[in-house]
């Protein structure tokens, strides 16, 4: 690697202050510091520093996302094939290579657009502010595609990414300064700006929308909704067929035979690109927790909050949503993905140890509440996390105030 080092040395004078390409310094610096840990030495304070830096931290999160990405690509490919063959019960593990390639063809453009637009804007701001790329977007750029429906138009991905990076992050000062999660900002933007492309029953399988538009009969009886979207339709379908009020437990039964717990856990169901597989998310969680990058407190309390809310709703009962077993809530609708990759974002989560537990618990609790009590938002997870992002500083405020009060009390007693 000596030649590369020499080359960088040779190029460096052009990019520093007074050089030919002075303006492009942030770009050069980003490339150079990616290839080589820079020769910066400590000048003040501790003379030695821990090996860890933000690049490695962020790279670990990307590593943790790989299982979700690979599974998402395959799952997308599977449903694309299912739609084109108009066979909803297409065997899941057939023609794996072809499905993966098909999925790759659909997912990679979304990933490329997300990174391309996001990094472009980051560099622009870097050049205006005169700093190299801060690594936060490396993770956001991967999270955004994974939260998108497979059929999302690429221009929407680009627009949402631009909105999230500029309004969600850069106007607050960049990486580490944002109030709400970047990837969820992108998703929320699309959800409210283009609801028809982000919800309903046409968008979750690639190609379904086009096919329906061209020839509605060809896909008759082909439900393309997500599992949660389907749950409500089960009740209405059956009701119209039988001509009488259907017991909600019947609806739940037919739902759980359509989406078995195993299929939902493994992620073999339609949904956003990367969120369907709880199993893949848990693999990622393993990486995050083992390396200490993701907060176990948040993940566990998020799951606990969701489960307890599910149990409470079960106790009330009365319609399929309320009667859906609590554990089902944890394996569908991107719950695990949100708990593991979105809620744990350290910038927007609570920053105190006890605050993290409250934050996670309320996040999971609200996610299920929104999902069940307002079926217009079946994917309540992202709304709950965004809401908790806003609430996190208030939680922290009370934790910090508790610490301050302990100190004041000590002052009074002495």
């Amino acid at each position: 690697m000596k030649f590369l080092e020499k080359y960088l040395h040779k190029m460096e004078p052009h990019f520093i202050k007074g050089g030919k390409y002075e303006k492009w310094n942030p770009l050069f610096e980003t490339m150079a510091t990616f290839a080589f840990t820079p020769k910066l030495v400590t000048t003040k304070g501790s003379h030695i520093r821990d090996g860890v830096d933000l690049k490695r931290t962020m790279m670990t999160v990307i590593l943790a996302l790989i299982p979700c990405l690979i599974f998402g690509i395959y799952n997308t490919g599977h449903w694309e094939m299912a739609v084109s063959e108009t066979n909803r019960n297409l065997p899941y593990f057939d023609a794996m290579g072809a499905k993966f390639l098909t999925g790759l063809g659909i997912v990679m453009p979304v990933v490329i657009v997300s990174y391309g637009v996001g990094l472009g804007i980051e560099f622009l701001f870097g050049m205006i502010r005169g700093h190299s790329l801060h690594e936060g977007f490396l993770v956001s750029g991967m999270l955004i595609p994974l939260t998108m429906p497979a059929d999302v138009p690429l221009w929407m991905v680009g627009l949402a990414t631009a909105f999230a990076v500029i309004i969600g992050k850069e106007i607050f000062g960049g990486t580490g300064m944002n109030v709400v999660n970047i990837a969820l900002t992108a998703r929320a933007f699309l959800f409210f700006a283009y609801p028809t492309s982000m919800s309903g029953d046409k968008v979750w399988m690639s190609g379904l929308g086009d096919k329906m538009a061209a020839n509605p009969e060809s896909v008759d009886g082909f439900s393309g909704a997500t599992a949660l979207g389907d749950l409500a339709s089960f009740m209405s379908d059956k009701a119209s067929v039988a001509g009488e009020v259907v017991q909600s437990n019947v609806a739940v039964q037919s739902f759980s035979s359509e989406y078995t717990a195993w299929e939902s856990f493994a992620g073999m169901i339609p949904g956003s690109i990367g969120e369907t597989s709880t199993m893949a998310c848990l693999l990622g969680a393993l990486v995050l927790v083992l390396t200490g990058v993701g907060s176990l407190r948040i993940i566990l309390s998020f799951f606990a909050g969701g489960f307890i809310m599910g149990l409470l709703l079960n106790a009330i009962g009365g319609n399929p949503y309320l009667d859906l077993p609590a554990y089902y809530h944890l394996i569908i609708g991107g719950f695990a993905f949100g708990a593991i990759f979105m809620a744990t974002d350290p910038v927007t989560a609570s920053q105190t140890a006890n605050g993290k537990i409250i934050y996670g618990f309320l996040g999971g609790f609200l996610a299920i509440m929104i999902r069940v009590l307002n079926p217009a938002y079946p994917e309540g997870v992202f709304l709950a996390i965004l809401f908790m992002n806003i609430m996190a500083p208030i939680i922290d405020h009370y934790i910090v105030q508790g610490n301050i009060n302990r100190r004041l009390k000590r002052l009074k007693t002495t």
Binding site: T33, I48, G51, D53, R56, T57, I404
Partner: protein, 450 residues
């Protein structure tokens, strides 16, 4: 009376180059230095001129704000040079040593016959006083305050730190006399923290505390926090145990001992060992032919809190060790030695590196590379892992950065010194110089609230 304090949060940084248990004598340097910069916030008022001759214990300068606090010569000889920087700021006073080492005699009595005021005057006049530091602010103690206690740590837990029970093995009597004298000064409120089974647990006239656990267990700030934390308006004093022995010697002989024993260590030292030196000695005299490479950093003090010096620098007033480690001023390819490498050579408190898998006996050679560029705070919870205080380190640091005085007061700035944040600074992903920020915060507090 003794109670146990366990420190679970923290980090022992395992460096190569621990000093072997042998003490070597170094003849006094030709030039010895007393630097006002070693005392934070001090404005010196010189009382000598270049060319004047001095004895050990003669006053060189005093604190302009408080003339009772005197700073004295650690050697006898002639004032060689007064080094000034911009705006005639005094940087160093260089003293050319003679071979006689005559000392100024102070009038001393037995400690038991000495009143509190007499002890105070003796410590101030003999120039030992600056060894006593105060919390809040981590500066030389103000003798007009009444301390809530004098806190002494009999061990140092920082990387490659000297072992005081080894250094002071022969001087236990003097330590006891010194403690007795301090006991007079603080009316019985002397807190001595020791490791279990150390010789210091036998000392009398003190309140004993057993401290176990990892660094920063030996830091005086940690101990004060767990024994009797400082509130606004209170003062806690602290003094290094070796300086307690110096007080003992003063009471025994009436002479100031300008010498101290230091540990010399670090991966770039050929023969790490202990050395008897004069305070303010020249580093190159101490390290003669003992340094391996050229591209090294000389640190007066330990790697976490020490001062960077050149080979021609002088050891700092408060420092009891010298550490020499390699400079890290070279590029590291990201896959081999850099940020994405396996990193078996990196010592990390996070589990992003395999440090935690390696045996506890493995020691590391760390250089001065920052291992990354400065970033905003992103990761949370990592500072708390190495900060054994009931204080929120990141919130306090942020309050200091934003110069939020109310925030700093509320969050406990009165209890801390920059050195308490050294480990936070070490582990922090952001590479922000936290100690500098805390010092800046303390300076603000000093000017606005004290």
């Amino acid at each position: 009376m003794s109670n146990t304090i366990s420190i679970r949060k923290g980090l022992n940084i395992r460096l190569v180059g621990e000093s072997t248990k042998e003490i070597k004598d170094i003849p006094v340097s030709n030039t010895v230095c007393l630097s006002p910069l070693d005392f934070h916030g001090l404005i010196p008022k010189l009382v000598i001129k270049e060319g004047e001759s001095v004895q050990v214990g003669d006053v060189i300068f005093h604190d302009k704000k408080n003339e009772r606090i005197k700073f004295v010569s650690p050697t006898s000889g002639k004032i060689k040079q007064i080094v000034r920087a911009e705006k005639r700021k005094i940087v160093q006073i260089l003293i050319e040593s003679d071979s006689k080492q005559t000392c100024k005699k102070f009038e001393v009595k037995k400690v038991a016959d000495t009143s509190k005021e007499e002890v105070l005057d003796l410590l101030l006049n003999s120039g030992i006083w600056p060894s006593i530091k105060q919390r809040p602010l981590d500066i030389v103690a103000d003798p007009s305050n009444e301390p809530k206690g004098i806190f002494i740590s009999s061990f140092d837990s920082s990387p490659l730190a000297p072992d005081y029970s080894f250094i002071l093995k022969e001087k236990m009597d003097q330590v006891q006399i010194g403690l007795n004298a301090l006991n007079q000064l603080a009316s019985g409120k002397i807190h001595l923290s020791s490791r279990k089974n150390s010789d210091f647990t036998k000392m009398q006239n003190v309140i004993h505390h057993n401290v176990d656990g990892i660094h920063p267990a030996g830091n005086i700030g940690t101990q004060i926090h767990h024994i009797n934390p400082v509130n606004k308006g209170e003062f806690a004093w602290s003094i290094n145990i070796q300086d307690v022995a110096a007080i003992g010697q003063l009471f025994e002989t009436g002479c100031l001992d300008g010498k101290k024993c230091i540990a010399v260590g670090g991966s770039e030292i050929k023969h790490p060992a202990y050395y008897n030196i004069h305070s303010g000695s020249l580093l190159s005299d101490i390290l003669k032919d003992n340094v391996v490479g050229e591209n090294v950093r000389y640190i007066s003090g330990n790697v976490l809190t020490g001062d960077q010096k050149s080979a021609n620098g002088y050891i700092g007033f408060y420092h009891n060790q010298i550490t020499v480690i390699p400079e890290g001023n070279e590029y590291k390819f990201f896959l081999t030695k850099g940020w994405l490498g396996l990193g078996f050579d990196k010592f990390s408190n996070s589990r992003l590196f395999p440090t935690f898998l390696l045996p506890k006996s493995k020691r590391f050679t760390l250089d001065t590379n920052t291992n990354g560029e400065e970033r905003a705070f992103v990761v949370t919870g990592e500072l708390e892992k190495v900060f054994p205080f009931d204080i929120l380190p990141m919130h306090l640091t942020k309050a200091a950065i934003t110069e939020d005085i109310d925030g700093m007061e509320n969050l406990g700035i009165y209890e801390v010194a920059p050195e308490d944040f050294a480990l936070c600074e070490y582990v922090c992903t952001t590479k922000i110089n936290i100690q500098e920020k805390i010092r800046h915060g303390l300076d603000l507090i000093a000017s606005e609230c004290m």
